[in-house]
C-alpha cells in the first residue's frame, strides 16, 4: 500500500508536469510481482525507502530525486517496454532494476541505445562480461558463488559431488557456471539432476545422487521453494553428506521453510547482511548492514534479504555518482565507473573500465546454519 502511494504520488507529479526542472529523475523497473517477486518485492521496497531517505536528508546537492518505479512482473517483454518508457517518456537520467537476467538483458539494450547508465540487480555473468559501457551490476555473479562454494569444498577435501539444480533462470544459470568452473578447483560432478520450480518432491533425484558411487557432497543451485524441499527431502532420506545451497536462499526464511533440524549444517555463500549482528566490530561493512537492516525492518516489518541489499547498494552507488554527475547521464556514468572502495551491504565495490561489477570473492562469506541461525565459517 505504502509502495502504491509513493508510486502514485511520483507518477502524478510526472503527469502534472509540476516536477521542478532541477529534480533528478531516477527510473526503476523491478519484478515486484510474478514468479520473481521474492527478488523484486524487497528490491522495490528498498528503492522506495532509500529514495525517501535521501530526499529527507536534503537530496543530491539540494536537488530531490524523482523516482519513477515500474513493476515488470518478471516478463522480459514488459521490462523492455518499461525501459523504453523510462528513457523516452519519463526522460530519466539513470535506471536501476532488472531483477532477473532475462529482464536485465531486455533493459540492457535500451539503456545502451539511449546512453543512460543502468545498474542491474541480476546475477548472470553475461551482464558485465563483456563489459557494456552503460551497464553495471551490484550482485555477485553466479560464477563467483560457485567458486566460493568450490573453494570451501577444496578446503574440506571434497573432490566428487552430486548437483541438483532448479530449472528456473537462477538455477540453470548457476548450474552451467558451476559445471564450467568446477575443473579449476579439481571438482568432479558425478551426478547432475534438476527439478522444476514448482515441484513437490525431489526424493527420486536425491536417491539417484545417493546411489552414485563416490559422491562426497551435494550442491543445490536454486531459489524459491525448491531448495527448502531438497533440504527436507535429504533429511527424510537420511543422506549423510554435506549439503551446499546457493546465495539464492540466503535469508532467514529459508531456515524457517526447511526447518531448523533439516537445515542443520547446510553451508552457503552469503553476504554480510545476513550476519549483521555477529559481524566483528572491526568489519567495515558492519555500520552499513546494521543501518540498512534496522531501517528496512522498522519500515516494513519483515526481515531483510540479500536481494533488497543489492537494490540498496545500487541506489547508494547511483546517488553517490549523481553527486558528481548531477543531471547528466554521461557524467553519472563516468562517476560510477570511477567509484573506488564504496562499502555496500553486498561487499566493497571498486569499478573500472574493465570491471563493471567491482566485487571480488572476499565479498562472499561462507555461512553455516547451526541451531536455526547463521554462523560465520571464515
Amino acid at each position: 500500500m505504502k509502495l502504491f502511494m509513493t508510486t502514485a504520488v511520483s507518477a502524478l507529479t510526472v503527469l502534472g508536469g509540476t516536477a521542478a526542472m532541477a529534480d533528478i529523475k531516477l527510473g526503476a523497473s523491478v519484478s515486484a510481482s510474478g514468479p520473481a517477486a521474492f527478488l523484486g518485492d524487497p528490491e522495490a521496497k528498498t528503492i522506495e525507502m532509500m529514495v525517501d531517505q535521501i530526499n529527507e536528508e536534503g537530496g543530491i546537492n539540494g536537488e530531490k530525486i524523482d523516482l519513477v518505479l515500474y513493476d515488470d512482473g518478471g516478463d522480459p517483454n514488459k521490462a523492455r517496454t518499461f525501459a523504453t518508457r523510462l528513457v523516452e517518456d519519463d526522460e530519466v537520467v539513470a535506471i536501476i532494476g532488472g531483477s532477473t537476467t532475462g529482464t536485465t538483458m531486455s533493459i540492457l539494450s535500451v539503456a545502451e541505445d539511449a546512453e543512460v547508465p543502468f545498474i542491474s540487480l541480476a546475477g548472470a555473468i553475461q551482464i558485465i562480461d563483456p563489459v557494456h559501457k552503460w551497464v553495471f551490476k551490484t550482485p555477485h555473479t553466479d560464477r563467483m558463488a560457485c567458486e566460493k562454494i568450490f573453494s570451501d569444498m577444496q578446503k574440506k577435501g571434497i573432490t566428487k559431488i552430486g548437483m541438483i539444480s532448479g530449472t528456473d533462470g537462477f538455477g540453470a544459470s548457476m548450474q552451467a557456471q558451476c559445471k564450467d568452473v568446477a575443473p579449476k578447483y579439481a571438482i568432479e560432478i558425478l551426478s547432475d539432476e534438476t527439478y522444476g520450480p514448482q515441484d513437490a518432491d525431489m526424493t527420486p533425484q536425491l536417491t539417484k545422487i545417493r546411489n552414485t558411487q563416490g559422491v562426497q557432497a551435494i550442491l543445490n543451485p536454486g531459489f524459491g521453494q525448491g531448495p527448502a524441499i531438497v533440504t527436507r527431502n535429504k533429511a527424510q532420506l537420511g543422506i549423510d553428506l554435506p549439503l551446499y545451497e546457493s546465495h539464492g536462499v540466503a535469508s532467514d526464511g529459508f531456515i524457517e521453510l526447511a526447518g531448523a533440524a533439516a537445515a542443520e549444517g547446510v553451508r552457503l555463500p552469503g553476504t554480510a547482511l545476513l550476519v549483521a549482528s555477529i559481524l566483528p566490530e572491526s568489519d567495515p561493512q558492519k555500520p552499513v548492514v546494521t543501518a540498512y537492516k534496522a531501517a528496512y525492518e522498522a519500515k516494513y516489518g519483515e526481515t531483510v534479504s540479500t536481494f533488497g541489499g543489492y537494490a540498496h547498494d545500487a541506489v547508494d552507488l547511483m546517488s553517490h555518482a549523481m553527486k558528481t554527475g548531477g543531471n547528466d547521464p554521461a557524467a553519472i556514468r563516468d562517476a560510477l565507473e570511477a567509484t573506488q572502495g564504496y562499502v555496500g551491504t553486498t561487499g566493497i565495490y571498486s569499478f573500472s573500465p574493465e570491471d563493471h561489477l567491482g566485487l571480488d570473492l572476499s565479498a562472499f562469506k561462507m555461512l553455516e546454519i547451526h541451531d536455526g541461525g547463521w554462523t560465520l565459517i571464515d
Binding site: E193, Q225, I229
Partner: protein, 290 residues
C-alpha cells in the same frame, strides 16, 4: 530395488497431490460442464488462510477448518457472481471467466497476505517412516489418505445419494432436472462449495510438503487439470487414477530417464492417451447434439 521403491513412494505422494486437485475439478464439471481453472486458487487459499490464522494464534485444526469454510464461501461467490450470470456461454468464454477469476483471486491474495513462501508444521511430525530401505514422511500418508477418502466420499455421493444423482441430472439437462423438482440453484451452490472445500482441504494437507505462496495455484491447477483429463473429466475414479499415474510417471522418469524432461514425458503420455482414447481413460463418450 530400494531406489525403485523410493521412486514409487515419491510418485504416489506427488500423485495424491495432483489427484486431490483433480478431484476438485470433477464436482463442478459434473454439475455445470465448466472446467474451473480457478481450482488451483482454492488450494492456495486453503494453505494461505491456514498459515495466517495459525500464525495469528489459532490452533492448527481450527485454522484448517476455518480456511476450508472461507474457501467454500469463495467458491459459492465465484458461481453466483461470475458463472451464473454467464450461463450458456461457449467453452472459450467459460475458460476465460475462470482464468479471470483465478487471476483476480491471486491478485487479491498478494494484497491481503504477502508474496513470501510459507509453511506450517506437519500434522504428525517429520520423523520419516522406513519401508524396505525407502522412506516416507508421515505427512505423505495424510495426503494419500486424504485423496483416497475424498475419492470414496465422492463416489458414494454420486452413486448412492439422491443429492449426488441430482447433481448429475442437473448437468445432463438443467430444465428436465427442474421439471422433476430438483432445486438446480441449490445444487450449483452445493457443487461449488464442495469443490472449493476439497481444494482447500488439499491445500491444508499438502502445504507442509510443498509449501504455499500466493502464486502456487497456477502450477497445481495445470497439473490437476492434466490429471483429470488423463483420467476422463468428471469421473472421480479418473481423477484419482489420472493423478496417481501422472505422479508416478514424473517420479519414474526423474529416476530412470531425465529429471529435466519429466514434465515433458508426462505431457507426451497424456497426448498419446488422448490420441487413442479421446475421452481419457475413464471418460464417457458423448455425441454432439445437432
Amino acid at each position: 530395488m530400494d531406489a525403485l521403491l523410493q521412486f514409487l513412494l515419491s510418485g504416489v505422494t506427488v500423485g495424491a497431490v495432483y489427484a486431490l486437485v483433480a478431484l476438485g475439478f470433477t464436482i463442478i464439471y459434473n454439475a455445470s460442464d465448466v472446467v474451473n481453472f480457478a481450482q488451483g486458487e482454492f488450494v492456495m487459499l486453503g494453505g494461505m488462510i491456514t498459515v495466517f490464522t495459525y500464525q495469528a494464534g489459532l490452533p492448527l485444526p481450527l485454522a484448517a477448518v476455518l480456511a476450508i469454510a472461507i474457501t467454500s464461501l469463495v467458491g459459492v461467490a465465484l458461481n453466483k457472481l461470475a458463472l451464473e450470470p454467464a450461463r450458456g456461454a461457449p467453452v472459450v468464454s467459460l475458460i476465460i471467466i475462470t482464468i479471470g477469476a483465478s487471476i483476480f483471486i491471486r491478485g487479491a491474495a498478494q494484497l491481503i497476505f504477502d508474496k513470501q513462501l510459507h509453511r506450517f508444521p506437519s500434522f504428525s511430525g517429520d520423523q520419516p517412516i522406513h519401508i524396505l530401505g525407502a522412506t516416507l514422511v508421515p505427512q505423505s500418508l495424510w495426503v494419500i489418505g486424504g485423496a483416497v477418502l475424498v475419492f470414496i466420499g465422492l463416489w458414494l455421493f454420486f452413486t448412492k445419494t439422491l443429492t449426488g444423482k441430482a447433481v448429475l441430472a442437473t448437468a445432463n439437462n438443467r430444465l428436465a432436472a427442474q421439471l422433476v423438482g430438483i432445486n438446480t440453484g441449490w445444487i450449483m451452490t452445493l457443487s461449488f462449495a464442495l469443490s472449493a472445500a476439497i481444494g482447500a482441504l488439499a491445500g491444508v494437507l499438502v502445504t507442509p510438503i510443498t509449501l504455499v505462496g500466493y502464486d502456487v495455484g497456477v502450477g497445481l491447477a495445470l497439473k490437476g487439470f492434466a490429471a483429470a483429463m488423463l483420467g476422463g473429466m468428471g469421473n472421480p475414479k479418473g481423477a484419482l487414477v489420472g493423478g496417481i499415474a501422472l505422479g508416478l510417471l514424473e517420479a519414474l522418469t526423474a529416476g530412470y530417464l531425465s529429471s529435466q524432461y519429466k514434465d515433458a514425458v508426462a505431457f507426451i503420455v497424456i497426448l498419446a492417451v488422448l490420441f487413442v482414447m479421446p475421452q481419457g481413460l475413464f471418460g464417457k463418450s458423448t455425441t454432439e447434439r445437432v
